[in-house]
Amino acid sequence: MRERFDRYNRQILLEGWGVDTQVRLRNSRVFVAGIGGLGCPVALNLALAGIGIIRICDSDMVDITNLNRQFLHRDVHIGAKKTSSAKECLRGLNPDSGIETIDKKITSENVNELVGDAQIIIDCLDNFEARYALSQCALKKGIPMIHGAVWGMEGRVAVFQPPHTPCISCVFPSAPESECTPVLGAVTSATGSMQAMEALKFLSGRKMALSGRMLIMDFEAMKFQELELVRNPSCPICRQS
């Protein structure tokens, strides 16, 4: 037992953590939607922490323009499936973590099946259509969804867990037009790491600090805003929950 958990010694030392929490993480299942700028730091931190099953879902192939921030993919992976290169890298970082891959686009039709028995959804997507589908799935399964988004030097993280909190549709009822957003790798790394932090708290039985709140991080000015999110009583997704 001791040898098996030596890898995690420094986190087991955390107050209130211990081997029991580590066992809990080993038995955990997480759905990571998107393995791009945010998904890479999320999956990296979950794998290093010893999460049992990390299910990564992305239908894209690696492109050279991804490589300024998506550090699980390398030059040799250009043209390959992102899920394959991410799995290869993550297994090298921690062979204890089980990496499941799904090379599909998330839709409202397939989302429940794709998420399966995951205990938490981490939204690392780049479009709102799939985010709304994930949100409906999270509500149906009664599991939290950790939202992340970036634009330029700004990163955002929020935890949606209706009926205790609003859902993403309460906060953003309309989707913006899709665009090629400017972004720096350090911004996605920091933002994704914060998403992973909230997921690890949840899976280890701690309180998620961003439940029902959104943190907006301006990495240019290094100033953070904290917003209290409120439910929309006429929200088409969560009003009946």
Partner: protein, 87 residues
């Protein structure tokens, strides 16, 4: 003197300024003055469904026509929030 925090995608209209300080008694006056100072920010109000306004971290629930009801104090922080898709 309230501080309006400009969302990142719209800072091109404020010469990359993050915060605009405006002296107005209420939200309506503040927004009018903001657009007078930085005309390009009109785009924020062209798609009202995309914009949420928070004062000191709390959502303003009233519609645009009633913004004059939201009085502002010295050092209030107004956050203009739009959805961003990047991941």
């Amino acid at each position: 003197m309230a501080r309006v925090i400009i969302p990142f995608p719209y800072r091109k209209y404020t010469d990359n300024e993050r915060e605009i300080v405006i002296d107005a008694p209420d939200l309506e006056g503040t927004m009018k003055r903001l657009v007078q100072m930085h005309e390009g920010l009109n785009v924020l109000f062209e798609q009202p469904k995309l914009l949420s306004i928070f004062v000191n971290g709390r959502l303003v629930k009233v519609q645009q026509k009633d913004w004059s009801q939201i009085s502002l104090k010295q050092d209030d922080e107004i956050s203009l929030i739009i959805p961003i898709a990047g991941g």
